[in-house]
């Protein structure tokens, strides 16, 4: 179980997170939704270790990882796809994926990993040898996701994973998430799109101004007029 | 509009003028107390122009020039040549000559260098400055090589200062330069608060976008570059009239390093930064030179200051002023 409790984060004198709590079981898809600037990405970055929260706990399978540097968190099974992809520009798409496998010590399983990736995103085959810099927006997104899959994570954090992907790819990717989940992996997606989120997630968290203001099932959310109002921004 | 922009401490012209006035009033007292420190203040006021120019490029346009010594050198050697070959020692003509020659040099190299940014611009400027330095250095028969060109005391409006004793001469120099600096500071302030100033800031923040709203970023940078060059050359002209010796050192990269450090010390992006920086830098340098291991002292000071005061002195002062002001508001 990945458990985030009462997370506080402060960057240059602004409180960005003020008590965020999230729980994800293995084989579960959880969505964090919230308006722009609600703190979704910041929560992810804190889990990954890019930001250093001032208070709170982050536990992976009952082990507190908040003091660990990012690379040790990866070893504990955290996989991360940033919203801006951050594909390494001057190595090829393939090397991007290989590197992730190497860093997570999965190089021996690279053939299986490639197979899995190519079933989810057959498009990648077309640009495996293209350097990251020259990929289009959506292509980068695919590589970024593929790369995080190559670390064989136990918990996968997807930040705005559907943004910029063509609808057809989005559909395939949704199926893939189901598949990933069934392999015993916990998936957390950060979404601003409530419709997509309610479709794929079993459990939802709503962030607003750095606070968890709701958690529950999709139907709970849709019935909660108050929260929905906030999400609609009216 | 200018009121509309939040006028922070140091960005308005008033604080700048008050600061300069205080220095000008303190100067004779300091000189009586210790002429050596009086001379240091003379260095300080001499360098303001170059630092203002540097800050226009760095703080407001986003171009880090690691070769500003180039223009100090142009100013300095213009004076050297004017004296050596034409026998001119009128400071007005020196200034005019410095402005003209630096404009010409800036027009020649500007169109090429402004196409680069960040470290590339820095290196490019460094390389060009080094070329000029090596020419000053190597063309011994023209420039006097490392021995440089000796120049006599300057004259103002035809009045020769040769007969003055050292102290009086130095006072005349100090107040002449201070007066000039008031004018230069005012002009620079106008430039920064003009539409052109805003354009430069927009280029600094986002050059691609600036280009796509129709700013010819190269042209704007070129103008900034020329202004900056002129300002730097003025310091070159003044500095050699202060030392009365023109050597290639003034065009060497270590001089560029000085310009960068002094500006950052004072605070880039804040208008008063370079002015404060110039004085404080020269005080620090003189202090360090008192030690046998002065390079180490200087190195440690540089590192400590950059780490402890990343925004420079002006930034620190502004923060303090903010605290005091908000405290007083809350109190009363």
């Amino acid at each position: 179980m990945l458990k985030v409790e009462d997370l506080h984060l402060r960057i240059s004198n602004t409180d960005i997170l003020r008590g965020v709590s999230i729980e994800v079981e293995k084989s579960e898809v959880v969505a964090i939704i919230g308006r722009n600037g609600a703190g979704k990405s910041s929560t992810f970055k804190s889990i990954v270790g890019i930001y250093k929260p001032s208070r709170g706990r982050i536990q992976v399978d009952d082990l507190d990882i908040i003091k660990l540097p990012p690379y040790q968190r990866v070893a504990k099974g955290i996989g991360y796809v940033p919203e801006d992809m951050r594909v390494f520009p001057w190595i090829t798409a393939k090397e991007n994926i290989y590197l992730a496998a190497y860093l997570s010590k999965n190089l021996d399983k690279i053939d299986d990993i490639m197979n899995m990736i190519l079933t989810i995103f057959p498009e990648i085959k077309n640009f495996l040898d293209r350097e990251g810099f020259y990929l289009s927006g959506g292509e980068k997104k695919m590589v970024a996701i593929a790369r995080s899959l190559a670390t064989l994570p136990k918990y996968l954090l997807l930040d705005e994973a559907f943004e910029g992907l063509a609808p057809i790819v989005v559909e395939r990717f949704k199926d893939a998430i189901e598949m990933i989940k069934n392999q015993g992996i916990g998936v957390i997606i950060a979404e601003s799109n409530v419709v997509i989120a309610t479709k794929i997630a079993e459990k939802l968290y709503v962030l607003e101004r750095g606070e968890t203001i709701f958690h529950g099932s999709p139907s709970d959310l849709l019935n909660n007029q108050e929260v929905m109002k906030i999400l609609r921004g009216s | 509009m200018v009121e509309r922009l939040k006028r922070f401490f140091g960005d308005d012209i008033k604080t700048n003028f008050i600061f300069l006035t205080i220095i000008a009033i303190l100067y004779p007292i300091i000189y009586v107390f210790s002429p050596g420190w009086g001379v240091v203040l003379g260095h300080g006021v001499t360098w303001i122009s170059a630092l203002l120019g540097f800050n226009l490029l760095f703080g407001y346009t986003g171009l880090l020039s690691f070769g500003h010594a180039l223009f100090l050198g142009v100013g300095a050697y213009t004076v050297g040549f004017m004296y050596k070959y034409l026998g001119i020692n009128n400071i007005e003509l020196h200034l005019l000559g410095g402005i003209l020659s630096s404009t010409v040099v800036a027009l020649i190299i500007g169109p090429i260098v402004v196409r680069y940014t960040r470290i590339f611009f820095a290196i490019f400027m460094l390389a060009i400055a080094q070329i000029l330095w090596s020419l000053y250095y190597k063309f011994y028969w023209v420039t006097g090589g490392t021995d440089g060109i000796k120049i006599p005391r300057f004259s103002i409006l035809g009045i020769s200062l040769e007969k003055l004793d050292f102290a009086t001469y130095h006072h005349v120099y100090f107040y002449f330069v201070t007066g000039l600096t008031f004018i230069l500071v005012y002009i620079m302030w106008r430039i920064i608060n003009s539409p052109f100033g805003l354009t430069l800031k927009s280029i600094r923040d986002n050059e691609t976008r600036a280009r796509f709203i129709g700013v010819d970023i190269y042209r704007a940078r070129l103008y900034a570059f020329i202004i900056s060059a002129i300002y730097a050359s003025i310091t070159g002209v003044l500095a050699v009239n202060h030392h009365r010796l023109v050597t290639p050192d003034i065009a060497y990269w270590t001089t560029s390093g000085k310009v960068v450090f002094a500006t950052l010390l004072g605070g880039a992006r804040i208008f008063i930064g370079p002015i404060v920086g110039s004085f404080v830098f020269h005080i620090i340098e003189s202090f360090a030179m008192k030690f046998i291991y002065w390079q180490m002292v200087m190195g440690i000071l540089i590192i400590a200051i950059v780490i402890l005061m990343p925004g420079g002195i002006a930034h620190l002062a502004r923060t303090l002023v903010d605290v005091v002001v908000s405290h007083r508001r809350r109190g009363g």
């Binding site: - | 210790s34 002429p35 050596g36 420190w37 001379v39 260095h43 250095y137 190597k138 011994y140 028969w141 090589g145 490392t146 021995d147 440089g148 000796k150 050292f166 030392h243 009365r244 010796l245 050597t247 050192d249 003034i250 003189s286 030179m289 008192k290 046998i292 002065w294 390079q295």
Partner: protein, 440 residues
């Protein structure tokens, strides 16, 4: 001889009370960079003299205190000089090695009216064009032209160059006043003494002072041009690098190296690798073995004291600084005997002008008239390098002494500096020497 020249008859001795406050000396020397090889011994020479004087009760009972400042680039050197005078309020100043710095500091010294002894920085320009009529500046070491001319004449004599039909010469000199002067003076001397037609310059290079660590490209060019002699004024760290690499390329087997400065600096450091059989000039005309110790005990005691105090043998900058301090002492004491009170700067200057004292290198004379007023003079010395197992480094063999009066512009000579070479000495040699005649 000339000792009391130019002095008014002694006034009635008043014998005023002498202040007991210490005299303050300012010392400015290269402590960093390639010049430190010379700066440090210079500082040590000055300190040794001060300590000796203080031990014996000071100057007229006043002890000497000193402050040391760094010599660096001209601009900063001038600034530090100013703080010495303005803030430290020194009574006299001893310092400077570089020929770039003396012309920078000279005018400032005149302006600040401070008694200033330049140890070195021997460019002819200083007293010819920069400060033609000095009051406060003096310079201890020989003028450059004396170095260059002495080395060239030494080479001609020791290598029997007059017997050759044609002499191919290559030059390598550091790129600043000293190197440029040395080039001009050595060249004009060769041309005059050997005859213009018999001298052919095959290569010239002016590497930056202390800017080059790898001399191999220069060495290759020199060898490729096949000169008979290589005239050089490299010094400091430059020679150290040059010798070693030149040996690797066999340069010294192919030509004779003629240096006007080689054996001047810290012998243990500078001339460790110096090959045998080449012309070793001594800039500033001091090498610690000459004048011979048994015949001239002043030198012996200086070398011994210096060695005891600092653990190395003295060199020309140490001797220069040492002499500078003693010049000051002698001048103060001499002025005191005249006027009966502790002298003012003007009195000391009057005492200094035309004075001759005996330093470790022999008699040294302060010139009182133009040209080169306030320059100090002593005889030149040139020899053939020879490794000496007693010391573990190269010394001068078969030294010849070249009387200074024969090779330097005489007092009162009225000529104009040569427009190209820039020096008076150059014009003097060109105009007054007879071609094809060895002047000494």
């Amino acid at each position: 001889t000339e000792i009391y020249r130019g002095l008014a008859p002694p006034p009635p001795p008043v014998r005023e009370e002498i202040p007991t406050t210490p005299i303050k000396a300012g010392i400015q020397a290269y402590l960093t960079g390639g010049g430190a090889l010379w700066g440090k011994p210079m500082m040590q020479g000055a300190i040794l003299a001060i300590e000796e004087i203080n031990e014996r009760g000071g100057i007229l009972g006043r002890k000497i205190e000193y402050v040391v400042k760094s010599e660096t680039s001209p601009e900063e050197t001038v600034r530090e000089y100013r703080t010495l005078v303005l803030d430290e309020k020194i009574d006299f100043y001893v310092g400077l090695i570089s020929s770039s710095n003396t012309p920078a500091v000279g005018p400032v010294a005149e302006e600040l009216q401070t008694l200033t002894f330049f140890v070195d920085g021997c460019t002819d320009f200083l007293f010819e064009s920069v400060v033609p009529d000095p009051r406060f500046c003096f310079r201890i070491t020989n003028i450059q032209s004396a170095d260059g001319v002495a080395a060239a004449i030494g080479a001609i004599k020791l290598l029997n160059l007059t017997e050759k039909d044609k002499v191919r010469i290559a030059h390598i000199h550091p790129d600043y006043a000293y190197g440029r002067n040395a080039h001009a003076h050595m060249q004009i001397t060769f041309e005059k003494v050997l005859g213009k037609d018999r001298v052919e310059v095959v290569y010239e290079a002016f590497p930056g002072l202390f800017k080059i660590t790898d001399f191999s490209p220069y060495i290759t060019e020199i060898i490729a041009n096949r000169p008979d002699i290589l005239a050089s004024s490299l010094w400091g760290a430059d020679v150290v690098n040059f010798y070693k690499q030149a040996i690797g390329y066999g340069l010294f087997e192919k030509m004779k190296y003629v240096s006007c400065i080689a054996h001047a600096a810290s012998p243990a450091e500078a001339v460790k690798d110096f090959p045998d059989g080449h012309i070793a000039g001594v800039h500033a005309n001091y090498f610690f073995l000459y004048p011979e110790w048994d015949k001239y005990p002043i030198n012996k005691s200086f070398v011994n004291n210096y060695y005891r105090r600092w653990g190395t043998y003295p060199d020309s900058p140490s001797e220069g600084a040492y002499v500078a301090v003693y010049l000051y002492k002698n001048a103060v004491e001499k002025a005191y005997t005249m006027i009966g009170r502790f002298p003012e700067v003007d009195d000391i200057i009057r005492a200094l002008e035309g004075m001759t004292i005996y330093g470790p290198a022999g008699p040294i004379h302060v010139r009182a008239e133009k040209p080169n007023k306030h320059q100090c003079y002593k005889d030149g010395i040139v020899g053939i390098s020879k490794y000496d197992p007693r010391f573990g480094f190269s010394v001068l063999d078969k030294p010849i002494v070249i009387p200074i009066s024969k090779i330097t512009v005489p007092e009162g000579w009225e000529g104009t500096p040569d427009p190209k070479a820039g020096t008076l000495a150059y014009s003097w040699i060109r105009e007054t020497w007879r071609e094809g005649v060895v002047p000494v």
